[in-house]
């Protein structure tokens, strides 16, 4: 086992890191049996496309069900009968994403007959009221057109359980309700508990599920728990959170949702890299100069002041989304696309990540000040409601990382994220080295930049390749041009929402797109030393809203003779 990223020896983090390795050792000795074992070795070569398309039917299911046939690619993966229990149905996420996603799954025929949805919240609602809330959420936010018959199917399975999380009675009612649903809807004791609630309620809810015996699956059925980010705010809290869930649910029943990983383009990174021959030969230090991973937001913190202050951009975005993107871009090819193989490769990369030797020059942070954003005057971070005027929380973070392995040694990975930047854009840019020799005169290629391959995650998902081309005319002048593949152009309207894919994977029990606890901990090991450094080194630098971040971030790249891509 390779050592994880090394914080300075003797620090708390280093001890914690070692403890982590010790704790995980038994799990690594006996790897968990993959949920879907590859059907045949021959199929592994074609596995990329097949698994990305995710319609693989394994040999075992064929034996059990004669109507299933691996060659029958029209039949979709449908979850077995089950109940989804949603905690926090009154939240924004439920209304905007989760409830519509359930409808969309139903509309695509991917929900099993008898599928039931139970809402749990502190509201004095009857089943009908919750159904009405769901109806409105679906009408407003569903991706697919509204169809009466689909709604009828879903409507029949909608239940509501009123109560508070610390109310034993309410959970006893929930337990009874689920038993009843098993009888009336034939859901066979399969429950998924979706905790769309602030992390501080996790212990209470999970304890309640344990007390009522709902967490324990009887023979032949399953119980799963779904938790949303943040997975803690540092290594220690991530471990505590994990200890709470793992005391009740085994690791393979815990699904950590990072909705970025459900996005089509993110999955497409794997297809791009491992289903093609074009890119892999140059995907290394021999050709790549550096990699920039950006998630820029134009919005401020909005109503999230209570959560955001004290957390900041790095914990909010870099720890999960950007490091996961880094892992997908930098990892070696997995031997198959099952959860175990994929996570193993991602972990290897995360373990190989090295922090810059000098954190003061290898990182940058900022805090937006009042300014103009897209034609509107906006407040500075410190003037936002609910933010203390002396807050040192960063709203912009940029870090430089290296991946210490044979493929990437010496290639810097620049990660940046920020709020109130000039536009919303998430992308991964692989910037290639300049041609070793240019047979043109210096003047001809003056405006020629570096070749780049850009994976746009949002908005307008797609891939852009930038290369030099001759400018029309008699002179031999070479200039950069872009070749663009828009995902939505070649496969229009078929891209499902990330939550649809992830919910379906939860109900089917297919975990490759969910980060494992080890990945969560490794990410915190990368970030914790930076957070510690920042906490003890003054305040973030201000940057006017609507610009591209603080000057120190530009200086960080300028020192390496590079510049951020202008997005």
């Amino acid at each position: 086992m390779t050592k994880p990223t090394k914080p300075a020896p003797g620090t708390e983090a280093a001890k914690a890191a070692e403890a982590a390795e010790g704790a995980e050792a038994p799990e690594n000795v006996v790897p968990p049996i993959p949920a879907t074992s590859p059907a045949a070795p021959v199929e592994q070569s074609t596995a990329v496309a097949a698994q990305v398309a995710a319609t693989a039917t394994t040999e075992e299911t064929v034996a059990a069900n004669p109507l299933r046939d691996p060659r029958d690619k029209r039949l979709p993966r449908v979850a077995g009968p089950c109940v989804l229990v949603l905690f926090g149905v009154t939240g924004d996420l439920a209304k905007r994403k989760l409830l519509p996603a359930i409808y969309d799954l139903g509309n695509r025929g991917l929900l099993p007959p008898g599928f039931s949805l139970v809402g749990f919240a502190r509201r004095d609602w009857a089943h009908e009221d919750f159904a009405q809330v769901t109806y409105e959420a679906v009408k407003e936010n569903a991706r697919t057109p509204f169809r009466e018959e689909v709604w009828k199917q879903i409507r029949e399975g909608i239940h509501f359980c009123p109560g508070e999380f610390n109310d034993d009675g309410a959970f006893d009612v929930l337990s009874m309700m689920l038993k009843e649903i098993d009888e009336t809807r034939g859901t066979g004791g399969n429950y998924a508990f979706y905790l769309s609630v602030p992390p501080k309620f996790f212990p209470t809810v999970i304890e309640q599920l344990k007390r009522t015996g709902l967490a324990k699956a009887p023979e032949g059925s399953w119980r799963r728990v779904v938790i949303e980010k943040p997975f803690g705010h540092d290594l220690k809290s991530a471990r505590e959170l994990n200890a709470i869930t793992n005391a009740v649910f085994p690791e393979e029943s815990v699904f950590r949702i990072d909705h970025y990983l459900g996005k089509e383009t993110v999955q497409n990174i794997l297809a791009l890299r491992f289903a093609n021959t074009l890119y892999e030969p140059i995907w290394n230090r021999g050709y790549v100069d550096h990699i920039q991973i950006t998630m820029a937001e134009d919005i401020g913190i909005g109503g999230r002041a209570g959560y955001y202050d004290g957390i900041g951009a790095a914990r909010d975005v870099i720890q999960n989304h950007l490091l996961q993107l880094l892992a997908l871009v930098a990892m070696e090819d997995p031997i198959s696309f099952d959860a175990d193989a994929l996570r193993r490769e991602k972990e290897k990369v995360l373990r190989a990540v090295q922090l810059p030797a000098d954190l003061s020059t290898g990182t940058a942070r900022g805090q937006y000040t009042a300014g103009w954003q897209g034609g509107e005057p906006v407040k500075g971070y410190l003037e936002e409601d609910g933010i203390p005027p002396d807050s040192i929380t960063e709203t912009y973070a940029a870090i430089k990382l290296e991946v210490a392995n044979r493929r990437w040694a010496g290639v810097p990975f620049y990660l940046r994220t920020g709020k109130r930047l000039s536009r919303r854009m998430t992308e991964v840019a692989v910037v290639f080295q300049r041609a070793p020799h240019l047979p043109f005169s210096k003047d001809d290629t003056e405006i020629l930049g570096q070749n780049a391959l850009v994976i746009r995650v949002q908005p307008d998902e797609g891939i852009t390749v930038r290369f030099g081309s001759k400018v029309p005319g008699t002179a031999m002048e070479v200039r950069d041009v872009n070749m663009d593949f828009a995902y939505g152009e070649s496969f229009m309207e078929s891209s499902p929402e990330a939550y649809e894919r992830l919910l379906l994977d939860v109900l089917i029990g297919d975990p490759p797109l969910f980060p494992h606890q080890r990945e969560v901990e490794l990410s915190w090991m990368i970030l914790d030393p930076i957070e510690e450094f920042w906490a003890s080194h003054g305040k973030p630098e201000g940057y006017p809203a609507g610009t591209w971040g603080p000057a120190s971030a530009d200086a960080m790249l300028a020192r390496d003779g590079r510049a951020w891509r202008r997005l």
């Binding site: 059990a64 004669p66 109507l67 046939d69 690619k73 077995g80 018959e149 070649s490 496969f491 309207e493």
Partner: protein
């Protein structure tokens, strides 16, 4: 949308007009993924174009519509080109007169997109062996529709005869939701199926096809019985013990699934418009082996 009419034209003129229109619109290199050729008569043209354009929203395509006109007239090729924001790809309606009706492939062939899949669709009448048809030969995927034949059941039963990998029929596509539901219902084993019945409206080609698929997979006799429709109305599978798994759909939208020892459940099972069927066909362009073994079963022929 820009519409452009060319009379007495040639394939190369059409091709250059397409390029010019694209450039004018400022989008010369749109990401079209396939060429869809629809061979249809004038009466079926409107519906075919409509369905194809809607399917093209999911799979941006160049849509070539071949309409054979009077073979007695002098040879002539008329083209109507539609390019625009409402249609994601390009639509070209080709009207063929005179002897040219016998040589449609000479017009189609230069208009195919380079190095991308070609799909031919016969919404109405189709050749006996689609793969031997001059236009069918250009395609990797050939879609027929037994429902539009004079005798739909005979048409689907005869498909095995001219089958070449890459053929499929919309009567089969219409079954996907039914097959998906039945497969999901059998994910929890109910035991060996002894016999079964598929109920469908008179003359519905999907009924016998579903029965053939079920008997092929379950290795049990499956009868087809007539109902008042619309379309497929029920599937009943009887297990050795005499218990029954039943899917009932009387209103062409919502079905009821009844399983031994379990409560009845309602499931959305709506009939789908042609555009959705076509979009499903275009999603996978490899030969449908399950369709092949099903039509061979239907034709009572051992699998080849």
């Amino acid at each position: 949308m820009t519409s452009f009419n060319l009379t007495g034209t040639t394939a190369s003129k059409i091709s250059s007009t397409l390029t010019r229109l694209r450039h004018q619109m400022g989008a010369p290199a749109i990401g079209m993924v396939l060429t869809l050729v629809a061979v249809v008569d004038e009466a079926g043209q409107y519906d075919a174009v409509r369905a194809a354009t809607e399917a093209a929203r999911e799979h941006p395509s160049r849509i070539l519509v071949v309409i054979n006109r009077d073979p007695a007239e002098p040879n002539r090729l008329d083209a109507e080109i539609r390019v625009g924001e409402s249609a994601p790809g390009e639509v070209v309606l080709l009207r063929l007169y005179g002897d040219l009706t016998e040589h449609a492939d000479s017009v189609i062939s230069p208009l195919l997109l380079t190095d991308t899949p070609v799909v031919v669709w016969w919404p109405g009448e189709c050749p006996k062996v689609p793969a031997k048809d001059p236009i069918g030969q250009l395609a990797g995927r050939r879609i027929t529709d037994a429902r539009s034949a004079g005798d739909p059941v005979a048409a689907i039963t005869g498909r095995a005869e001219g089958y070449v990998p890459g053929d499929t029929d919309l009567a089969w596509t219409r079954l996907t939701p039914w097959r998906s539901l039945l497969a999901a219902a059998l994910d929890q084993p109910i035991g060996k199926v002894a016999e079964g019945v598929v109920e469908a409206a008179r003359g519905n080609p999907s009924g016998p096809l579903l029965a053939a698929w079920l008997s092929d997979r379950l290795n049990a006799p499956i009868q087809v019985s007539e109902s008042s429709g619309p379309g497929l109305t029920a599937v009943r599978l009887t297990v050795a013990g005499g218990e029954e798994l039943k899917v009932n759909r009387s209103d062409a939208r919502l079905a009821t699934l009844s399983k031994p020892g379990q409560p009845d459940r309602r499931v959305a099972l709506a009939r789908r418009p042609t555009s959705e069927l076509l979009a499903e066909e275009l999603r996978r362009l490899d030969p449908d082996e399950v369709y092949a073994s099903t039509i061979h079963r239907l034709a009572k022929k051992p699998r080849s």
